[in-house]
């Protein structure tokens, strides 16, 4: 029944969007997303409280039975999807206000938005291989259509195609994997994975896992499958980027988690694989983020970093399963799930803020911005909160999940596991390093964009759109809630985590769902966080009481230089320069520098850097060029001369006739020489 409702909502809403005009389209879309959200969330919450939802449909001759199942894992993802898409559309309606003229584009966009919601819900719940693939691809296509909303710009369309192709590659991997399963199990049920893996040779099992990992990893954006992200996010409208980075890439995470649930054995190896990929993704992502000048691109690379963190959680959890260490499983997957939620929240928040900045200034180039705190106070607060959260600092939600991960790692250390200690240590230091780098990155982003003085003449005096703020504050509220009451959310996620602790044949079957570790720790954290906040308040109060009133307002102290201008401020590029120098070998900075002429150079010198992804250059661009060159070798075929065309036919016949003879001759000679 609910399934029917959700699908019906899509069709009805699309119809209405077509009919109604102008601004009402947005309202219809919001309503539709709200309805679907409520319906699905209702099911999800019931699933989290123990009563799983299941429905079966008969879908045609050779598809047969389609099972829709909502277990705790799906429920968790459904909830965060619903929330993110709701805030997304709420923000989007405001963001798209300037486009109200382009009716057809808006129709397509809103319809796609509702459809992608439906498709995602499908992906979380469908147990049927082909239908899963279908939902998966519908999700991709709708996402693609939303990315190229602002078409007419070549780079937008190019980014869209890039997304489409890489998505298709991921789709291809999944297809092959599913074909494998289908042939082995003869059915179209996801459960076939586990039935196959329970009897397959471990090596084959691992190979299958790699196929799945490649397929889902591209969507999730693990390095080196990440190259589509930094193009797609800047091209898309802000709310779409928010949704993409908040939810869409999490579909990859969901897929990997699902496969882990279905896997049987070989967990340690799987864990190591995920962990290594994640460490690389985390560090590489944040490093690339630091050197970006384009705000949205920066955020995109940060998504890669956060995927890395989530992946570390999954890796630790897998190792836990493999080594039958309950605490490790719990901390690992707990971290993964919570961070998935947290990242969805703060990343969408950051993207909404970025969107507002773009509306205000019509640029995403950090170097041209500055001093926005005066113009956009609310956006500043939101962005600041987002930055603090994404750096994983208390008192916000980012800290909670990273803390879980840390405690997982430290427990792993303390548990003195045989082989994996070194890898855990690597993860530990990587995580610490990521924390530091993220701080560098976001102090840069926030400080340069919002603080100081405008580095560039901004278009027109711009007033913050009040109606664009609620989604941001809604998200912020949830973030604060998680930051202050982590235990509550851990308890909420517990059923989903319990799925992993009770992978059959892996752990002694104690009823572990009942007892939740780390709860007390979480409570301790919330206590300390509250104390900390109170302390800050107290100090501020003391300040008010103790300090005498402000003596004077004067210009910034220029260390004696009398005429400082806005252009003398520290730039983003110079802010990260010391680090850039340290990690030069990892980067690919295409510089274009003018030469300074004469002792007193008269005309201005431009010098700018264009960071490019080194991995993309080596892993994508070069092979592609090679392939094109190879294919180009054969373009003499259609040369326009009819005799040649006939020659092909004759050649084919003659070759087919000759080749066996030649083969025989060769084998004969070979045997002849073998006898010698």
């Amino acid at each position: 029944m609910p399934v029917a409702v959700i699908i019906a909502t899509f069709f009805i809403a699309s119809l209405f969007i077509l009919l109604v005009g102008g601004r009402w389209k947005g309202f219809v879309a919001v309503a539709a997303v709200l309805v679907n959200g409520l319906v699905s969330a209702n099911i999800a919450i019931r699933a989290l409280t123990g009563q799983a939802f299941e429905e079966h449909f008969y879908t045609g001759l050779y598809f047969g039975e389609l099972a829709i199942r909502v277990d705790a894992l799906s429920a968790w993802f459904i909830l965060l999807t619903d929330f993110t898409l709701l805030t997304g559309i709420l923000y989007g309606v405001r963001y798209l206000k300037p486009y109200e003229g382009k009716a057809s584009a808006l129709n397509a966009h809103y319809a796609c938005y509702i459809l992608i919601h439906v498709a995602m819900l499908g992906i979380f719940t469908i147990q049927h291989l082909l239908w899963f693939l279908t939902a998966w691809e519908i999700m991709t296509l709708t996402a693609f259509l939303m990315i190229i909303f602002d078409h007419g710009k070549m780079e937008v369309v190019r980014a869209g195609i890039n997304f489409l192709i890489q998505a298709h590659i991921s789709f291809t991997f999944l297809t092959v994997a599913f074909i494998w399963i289908h042939l082995q199990s003869g059915a179209y049920d996801l459960a076939g994975v586990s039935t196959y893996l329970s009897r397959a040779h471990p090596a084959l099992g691992f190979l299958l896992f790699l196929l799945f990992f490649a397929g889902f990893g591209i969507k999730a954006g693990f390095v080196p499958f990440h190259t589509w992200l930094p193009y797609a996010h800047p091209a898309a409208p802000a709310h779409v980027s928010g949704v993409m980075s908040g939810v869409l890439i999490k579909l990859g995470i969901f897929g990997i988690l699902r496969i882990i649930l279905l896997a049987r054995g070989g967990f340690v190896l799987i864990g190591y694989t995920i962990l290594i990929f994640s460490i690389v993704s985390g560090v590489y992502g944040v490093i690339m983020a630091i050197v970006q000048h384009n705000l949205k691109k920066l955020l995109a690379y940060h998504s890669i970093e956060n995927i890395g963190i989530i992946g570390m959680g999954m890796g630790v959890g897998c190792i836990g399963i493999g080594l039958k260490n309950y605490l490790l499983i719990f901390a690992g997957f707990g971290a993964a799930l919570l961070h998935t939620l947290n990242h969805a929240l703060f990343k969408s928040l950051l993207f909404y803020a970025a969107g507002t900045v773009h509306q205000a200034t019509h640029t995403m180039d950090i170097e041209r911005l500055g001093g926005l705190v005066k113009k956009l106070p609310h956006t500043t607060v939101l962005f600041l909160a987002g930055s603090v959260a994404i750096c994983g600092l208390p008192p916000l939600n980012g800290f909670v999940s990273e803390f879980l991960l840390y405690s997982g790692l430290f427990h792993g250390m303390a548990a003195n596991l045989e082989t994996s200690t070194l890898l855990l240590l690597a993860a530990l230091s990587a995580l610490a390093l990521i924390g530091g780098l993220a701080m560098l990155c976001f102090t840069k982003a926030f400080g340069i964009i919002f603080l100081g003085r405008p580095r560039h003449l901004l278009p027109e005096p711009f007033k913050e759109d009040r109606l664009g703020l609620p989604p941001g504050y809604l998200t912020l509220a949830l973030m604060v809630a998680i930051g202050l009451l982590p235990s509550l959310f851990l308890r909420l996620a517990a059923p989903a985590i319990a799925l992993f602790t009770s992978v059959p044949g892996q752990l002694p079957a104690v009823d572990q769902a009942s007892h939740i570790p780390l709860l007390s720790t979480m409570q301790a954290i919330s206590v300390s966080t509250v104390v900390f906040l109170l302390m800050i308040l107290a100090i501020l109060l003391i300040k008010r009481k103790l300090a005498s009133p402000v003596a004077a307002w004067s210009p910034t102290w220029g260390c004696g230089y009398a005429a400082p201008t806005a252009r003398l401020q520290y730039t983003a590029n110079s802010f990260v320069r010391p680090l850039r120098k340290l990690i030069r070998p990892l980067l690919m900075m295409n510089k274009s520098e003018g030469v300074i002429g004469g002792v007193f150079p008269s005309d201005p010198i431009r010098s700018d850097t264009h960071p490019y992804d080194k991995l993309e250059a080596t892993l994508i661009d070069r092979p592609l060029r090679g392939l094109r060159r190879f294919l180009g070798r054969f373009d003499f075929l259609q040369n326009g001369s009819a005799p040649a065309y006939i020659l092909y036919g004759m050649g084919f016949i003659v070759l087919v006739l000759l080749i066996p003879f030649l083969a025989d001759a060769v084998t004969y000679l070979f045997n002849l020489f073998k006898q010698v």
């Binding site: 373009d635 259609q638 040369n639 326009g640 001369s641 009819a642 005799p643 040649a644 006939i646 020659l647 004759m650």
Partner: protein, 209 residues
């Protein structure tokens, strides 16, 4: 008797290979028509009369008279220069034609089949490949058509190899003959003659990627 005719047929192919002038080609084609008539007459003497008549009419009336005349007409009408303008020197083409004949001879020897007359096979295959060789090696469109006609003759011979039992097939083959010759020659060569000043295939190499 058949063998002699067929050997003559093969020799005519060689002659075609080394001749330079279009008129020679038409003459050779006519000559081949006569040869085929002889072969057909001997081979198909026992089949029912109408079929036989049809075949004979086709070989004499069509292959020997109509087509050569028509070719000459086209050559005159479109003022096609008399040389065949091969890509390769004659010597080489003779060598190639000879190798083709030998090759088809060897190929036919590979046949482990009692009641197929190898000689027919040899003639047919060599005609087939020689025709293709003409198509590939000559510049002019008209020569392509002639090459095609040679192939047709080869097919005719081949069809005789089974013809005795399969009148239907032979007739179909003839149908093909009539269709292809009339259609290809009649319509298009003239059209191309109208459109293009000289009958060089390089004029027809614009449709490519």
């Amino acid at each position: 008797m058949t063998n002699i005719l067929l050997i003559l047929f093969v020799i005519s192919l060689v002659h075609m290979g080394l001749s330079k002038r279009l008129n020679t080609y038409t003459a050779v084609l006519a000559f081949q028509g006569i040869l085929l008539f002889g072969v057909a007459f001997i081979e198909l003497i026992q089949i029912n009369v109408p079929n036989l008549l049809f075949v004979l009419l086709e070989t004499i009336g069509f292959k020997t008279i109509a087509i050569p005349w028509f070719l000459n007409y086209v050559i005159r009408r479109n003022k096609i220069t008399r040389e065949s303008e091969p890509f390769l020197p004659d010597f080489i083409s003779v060598v190639i034609v000879t190798t083709i004949i030998i090759g088809s001879f060897l190929l036919s020897n590979a046949i482990r089949d009692t009641h197929v007359r190898k000689i027919l096979f040899v003639a047919a295959l060599s005609a087939l490949f020689t025709g293709l060789y003409f198509i590939i090696s000559r510049k002019k469109i008209i020569t392509h058509v002639m090459g095609f006609l040679v192939i047709e003759n080869g097919v005719f011979v081949l069809s005789l190899a089974v013809g005795a039992e399969m009148p239907l097939l032979v007739n179909i083959g003839i149908l093909l003959d009539i269709f292809a010759s009339v259609f290809l020659l009649g319509v298009f060569v003239n059209k191309i003659g109208d459109v293009l000043q000289d009958q060089d295939v390089d004029q027809l190499r614009n449709l490519k990627d």
